[in-house]
């Protein structure tokens, strides 16, 4: 079935990238339709979330989703739920942890900074920090960031003040701060997109925990669900189609698409026509849709004649250290983490690896996740039961944690493609994740495990233990790459404006465009880049250059 309307813009996906594009383009007068495969939740629905449903089984935000995963192309990929990206209006911004950093200037030119690293596919971004800086400013104000600008001496320069003060420190935060100061490091409040006071028409944080992997019932946590999609709808120019899954980008005349084939909420096939199409379905969803869209011109999938779509998948590398303290840590309460240490961020190959990352107080320790880490506390992976398990659980109120978000290196063979053996309930091939860590990632993580243990012990922790998080991949939610932006159409998929090299009316505005991953949580950069692209898009449209 074909609907009669031809929209100015169809945005596929409603997370950080899609939300901003929908808001800015509809505010500029364009008629925008947003296709979102997930449900449109009212915030009160988030009162009924729980750890088993959201974190362990992931059936709240991903009720019907499956994908497959393997380490290398020689392995058999197993079906399951691996990537932690909400399929709902607002996308990953609904359940994100909200840590919001600007990438450092060097993180946009890693190849120039660190040179060739064997086994990696490092490149520079086609844009630099200065080009993104005004859009970081805009994103921080819009999201209602809390924090203390200028408190991190290793951060990108030129920060404006945050609109909200930092959140209060819990006892575990103070232990980390004390330890870092004792080691002559520079602890500072984590910049977070969670209201520390009423701001932007959204409430103040209730300190209830359940932030990362959960939706916020009072919308103190910023999201496209709470901010950008409502603003887009308020223009009167935007239509939101939830529970509608795009399944094919349909080619038109010349180098243009003519529309999107999708399944509506009843599972009926529809064709939607649009002059411009913005693909913002995340690194996996975006790749899946491109590869599903084949033609005589693009037999290997749309934009994929150079075999670059899906490659260079990145998901950050993590290190985790927990600690036990005498006083109650109160780690389960308040926003996700509070204090950070960034002294080890600058790349220094003398450490045995390149690149770096940021250390932050770990997100709230929900009970099941904490229990599943008992083996780390007991320092064994067998006999993790019996009285020692009970003893470990009884210490739950006194446990805190540190986590490191580290820059992982892009590797060409780490990729998303379509699984030839497994299909979903609609008969579509499942996305297949192939990902094996570069040795640099492992060395980086081990280094940071040592530093985090030192900080905790210097702060007075009675015991510290590491849990190996290097196996956490797309489950991090930090999924980047697969549709690199670059100046060379032979080695990239998008140009510097996130516009496809090969299709003139297709834009990809999400984390897919990242050439490298940076050593910080990616969402603020996705937001800032979306504002940048939206400005360019509106400028072209106003000049009549988007037909």
């Amino acid at each position: 079935m074909t609907t009669g309307t031809e929209w100015d813009v169809c945005v596929i996906g409603s997370g950080a990238g899609g939300g901003v594009m929908a808001e800015r383009l509809s505010a500029a007068g364009m008629k925008v339709v947003v296709l979102e495969r997930g449900r449109h939740y009212s915030p009160d629905a988030f009162l009924h979330q729980d750890e088993l449903g959201n974190v362990i089984r992931q059936d709240f935000f991903l009720p019907d989703y499956r994908e497959t995963q393997r380490e290398t192309s020689a392995d058999k990929a197993l079906p399951g739920k691996y990537s932690l990206m909400a399929q709902t209006v607002g996308g990953g911004t609904v359940h994100w942890g909200s840590w919001s950093w600007r990438f450092r200037p060097d993180e946009f030119r890693v190849a120039s900074t660190d040179g060739v690293v064997a086994g990696s596919s490092l490149v520079d971004w086609p844009i630099g920090y200065d080009e993104l800086k005004p859009y970081y400013d805009l994103a921080e104000q819009t999201l209602g960031m809390s924090g203390l600008a200028g408190s991190n001496p290793f951060a990108a320069p030129g920060h404006n003040p945050y609109p909200n003060p930092a959140h209060v420190y819990r006892p575990a935060s103070r232990l980390i701060e004390k330890g870092a100061q004792a080691l002559d490091l520079h602890p500072f409040p984590i910049p977070m997109a969670i209201n520390s006071r009423i701001y932007g028409g959204r409430g103040k944080c209730m300190n209830s925990g359940f932030c990362s992997s959960f939706g916020c019932p009072v919308q103190a946590k910023a999201s496209s669900l709470a901010i950008h999609i409502p603003a887009a709808l308020a223009t009167g120019n935007c239509t939101l189609l939830a529970n509608c899954q795009a399944v094919e980008l349909v080619e038109g005349e010349g180098d243009r698409l003519r529309g999107v084939r999708y399944l509506d909420s009843e599972g009926r096939e529809q064709l939607l026509r649009a002059r411009q199409i913005v693909l913002s379905a995340g690194s996996i969803g975006t790749t899946q849709l491109l590869l599903q869209s084949t033609s005589s011109r693009f037999p290997r999938g749309l934009l994929n004649n150079n075999d670059q779509v899906g490659r260079n998948l990145m998901c950050h590398v993590f290190a985790m250290v927990n600690f036990e303290m005498e006083a109650p840590s109160l780690s389960a309460l308040g926003p996700p983490g509070n204090v950070a240490v960034d002294d080890f961020h600058p790349s220094d190959s003398r450490r045995g690896f390149v690149r770096g990352g940021v250390i932050g107080e770990a997100i709230e320790a929900t009970p099941i996740v904490s229990a599943l880490k008992a083996g780390g506390y007991l320092r064994r992976d067998r006999r993790v039961w019996g009285r020692e398990l009970s003893d470990y659980l009884s210490r739950y109120p006194h446990i805190g944690g540190l986590i490191m978000v580290g820059e992982d290196l892009p590797v060409a063979d780490n990729r998303i493609d379509l699984d030839p053996d497994h299909r979903d309930s609609q008969g579509l091939p499942l996305p297949r994740i192939t990902h094996q860590r570069h040795d640099n990632d492992i060395r980086l993580a081990r280094y940071f495990e040592q530093r985090m243990g030192e900080i905790a012990r210097a702060g007075g922790a009675s015991k510290t233990w590491a849990t190996d998080y290097t196996g956490v991949k797309t489950g991090s939610g930090h999924i980047m790459g697969t549709c690199r932006m670059g100046d060379d159409p032979e080695t990239s998929v998008l140009n510097r404006w996130c516009r496809a090299h090969d299709i003139s009316n297709l834009w990809v505005v999400d984390g897919s465009c990242f050439p490298t991953s940076g050593g910080y949580n990616p969402t603020l950069t996705i937001y800032a880049n979306a504002y940048r692209v939206a400005d360019h898009f509106v400028a072209l449209n106003s000049k009549g250059e988007l037909s």
Partner: protein, 189 residues
């Protein structure tokens, strides 16, 4: 059925996903706390097994928390493909008890039960394939923790027993949250 190598190779988060989504089990758990799939002798053995895997935490037992009920509902619906392996394992335990003159596995002494579970974890019991024993052990361990600590709506953690045992306050947004001073660890005025 998922193979042992595959099962053990999964992360904890994906383990549950591989074991099935929960809505049917959740709905049944909300309907009845009574056994729906396990027979009385199986239920009794399972309760005892869970108690060995996770002895009381601050005085709260897995029986207090209704862990067996959580597992019963799981085995009725999304975990139905695992019911045969649970059944074989529980019967193996009861049969073992009989061979040493004890009427059931739950009547064994604690030391004997611990040694049996160690062999189950190692896949070293006779009468059941070793890899199958290890799959059963992993599932029992995982589901015992879930039944103790998951939200009560899933059938375990009865009256927040598991959460009270570890001093976890639960879903505070249902109660209006807490103040900044409380998060900071300052005594309430």
């Amino acid at each position: 059925m998922i193979g042992r190598r595959d099962f053990l190779g999964l992360s904890a988060a994906n383990l549950a996903a591989a074991m099935g989504a929960n809505p049917l089990a959740l709905a049944t758990a909300q309907q009845t706390p009574l056994p729906t799939v396990l027979k009385p002798d199986e239920w009794t053995a399972l309760e005892a097994l869970c108690g060995i895997l996770l002895p009381p935490v601050n005085g709260v037992s897995t029986r207090d928390a209704g862990v067996a009920n959580f597992i019963d509902k799981f085995l009725l619906h999304e975990g139905a493909d695992q019911l045969p392996i649970y059944r074989r394992g529980l019967h193996l335990g009861n049969a073992y008890a009989l061979t040493i003159g004890t009427p059931s596995w739950s009547a064994l002494g604690e030391g004997e039960q611990v040694r049996w579970v160690e062999q189950l974890e190692d896949g070293a019991l006779s009468g059941m394939a070793g890899p199958e024993q290890q799959v059963l052990f992993q599932s029992l361990w995982f589901n015992t923790l879930l039944g103790f600590l998951a939200a009560p709506s899933h059938g375990g953690n009865v009256n927040h027993a598991g959460w009270r045992a570890i001093s976890f306050p639960g879903h505070l947004h249902m109660q209006g949250g807490i103040t900044d001073d409380e998060v900071a660890g300052k005594p309430a005025e």
